[in-house]
């Protein structure tokens, strides 16, 4: 139970950090979508419940701050989660570096296209377009976001595995002394 609450708190804090802090930084930090990276991480590490939690809480907070109607971000993150999970289970079934990159990039792309589709529906019903913008900069934005998401996931997993190796080495080198004392 505590583990779930901890992950929920992490999702809330992470999304707030992205909205307020990361968005102020220059590229590529401003293009990092922490919910997307967390969703992709949960999928490749076989922790889909964490991914779903991020989709729910991250989506909720993004919806409270976003331009599109309430529920759009949540729906887009859930679609990205289910589609990417399907992709990982049926198509890209390994955890090699290109596969990890592809999974995170696919999650970011699917999220963007879902939001664009919802925006299209919004425009059909007479709303003001929020994402649909055919200028070159706007069209490049999802591509940049996908590449950054892939890079961020690789960086996170890379740093994590480096640290875990280091800790493992320290533990093994000290273990015999620890046993010999007792």
């Amino acid at each position: 139970m505590w583990k779930f609450l901890l992950h929920a708190a992490l999702a809330v804090v992470g999304t707030i950090v992205q909205i307020s802090f990361l968005s102020q930084l220059p590229f590529p930090f401003s293009a990092i979508s922490l919910p997307i990276v967390a969703i992709a991480y949960g999928i490749v590490r076989d922790r889909p419940v964490i991914s779903a939690g991020w989709a729910l809480l991250g989506g909720l907070l993004l919806d409270l701050h976003g331009l599109l109607g309430f529920g759009s971000e949540m729906l887009a993150l859930f679609v990205a989660f289910f589609a990417t999970r399907f992709l990982f289970q049926r198509v890209v079934t390994n955890t090699g570096t290109p596969a990890l990159f592809l999974i995170a990039a696919a999650a970011a792309t699917i999220r963007w296209f879902t939001l664009a589709a919802l925006d299209g529906v919004n425009v059909l019903f007479g709303g003001v377009p929020v994402l649909i913008d055919l200028s070159a900069t706007a069209l490049l934005a999802p591509v940049r976001q996908s590449l950054v998401a892939g890079g961020a996931l690789l960086a996170y997993i890379g740093v994590g595995s480096l640290l875990s190796r280091r800790f493992q080495k320290t533990f093994l080198s000290h273990a015999p002394h620890a046993f010999s004392r007792h």
């Binding site: 707030i16 950090v17 992205q18 909205i19 307020s20 802090f21 990361l22 968005s23 102020q24 930084l25 220059p26 401003s30 293009a31 979508s33 889909p48 419940v49 779903a52 939690g53 989709a55 729910l56 989506g59 909720l60 993004l62 409270l64 701050h65 976003g66 331009l67 599109l68 309430f70 529920g71 949540m74 729906l75 859930f78 963007w112 939001l115 003001v128 377009p129 929020v130 994402l131 913008d133 200028s135 070159a136 900069t137 706007a138 069209l139 934005a141 999802p142 940049r144 976001q145």
Partner: protein, 266 residues
């Protein structure tokens, strides 16, 4: 956890999302959402401030040359403005005298709402800012948003109870009716150019405009008063066979470094 239990939990989380959506549609969660936004607004402001500081630190080594050039340009502009201030002070004194003579009384206007910039909104490709004031403070869509000294920087796009989102002038979707401060009061429409600069479009070919001309709001929109400064013309582009010409406008405000803005009431 077994795969079946895990799948059930995922479905439960997705259903919670669906439930939240319907509760929002019914208006049940409005107060809770406003409370939540109010609670996190303070932390968001601190984080945004930290982000801006870090951004400034990261970009400092690359900006020294630009700052030196900007300093030179500002010195010469300052000299020209001092002359302008002297002239305007004389005009103002004359105006005050005329007001006394005519028994003119100024209309009472409500004080503008001052809002802090909490963040830039997270959608890719958009140029918007999140403000810590909303409908509770009288903010409504289409209201103008101004920065220091009354320079227009955008308009309110969406207003919630305690927060609102402003679409910056540089956003491709932004449109504002504007006029040139020349004798003909040339009219046009200010539009964002890929989030980088501003363009004034629909300027009739026969109108005379030159670089350096000041651009102000035309007041054609009901919520936006006439006379808010938008920027200066830095280039004029004339195309043959086209009935209109286009001008590139430079705003005096750095739109990516906004901390505090004001929303004047109409």
């Amino acid at each position: 956890m077994t795969p079946v239990a895990r799948s059930r939990l995922i479905i439960l989380i997705a259903a919670a999302g669906g439930l939240l959506f319907f509760l929002h549609l019914l208006g049940v969660t409005t107060n809770a959402e406003a409370w939540m936004l109010k609670k996190i607004a303070g932390q968001e402001a601190k984080l945004a401030e930290a982000g801006r500081s870090l951004r400034a630190t990261m970009s400092a080594p690359f900006r020294i040359n630009a700052v030196l050039q900007e300093n030179d340009a500002l010195r010469s502009e300052n000299a020209a403005l001092s002359v302008e201030v002297a002239r305007l002070t004389t005009v103002q004194e004359e105006n005050a005298e005329l007001e006394k003579l005519l028994g003119y009384t100024k209309k009472l206007k409500k004080t503008p709402v001052i809002a802090r910039v909490l963040a830039r909104t997270p959608e890719a490709g958009t140029h918007t800012i999140l403000l810590d004031r909303g409908t509770d403070d009288g903010i409504a869509p289409d209201m103008p948003v101004v920065a220091s000294d009354g320079v227009l920087i955008g308009k309110i796009f969406k207003a919630e109870r305690t927060t609102s989102i402003a679409l910056l002038l540089t956003d491709t979707r932004s449109r504002v009716g504007a006029s040139v401060q020349n004798s003909a009061r040339t009219q046009g429409v200010i539009q964002g150019k890929r989030g980088l600069s501003l363009e004034m479009r629909l300027i009739p070919q026969n109108e005379e405009i030159t670089t350096g001309d000041m651009i102000i709001t035309s007041g054609i929109e009901p919520m936006t008063p006439r006379g808010l400064l938008i920027g200066r013309i830095t280039a004029v582009e004339t195309q043959e066979k086209s009935p209109f010409k286009t001008a590139t406008i430079t705003t005096p405000i750095a739109l990516d470094r906004l901390d505090v803005v004001a929303i004047p009431f109409p």
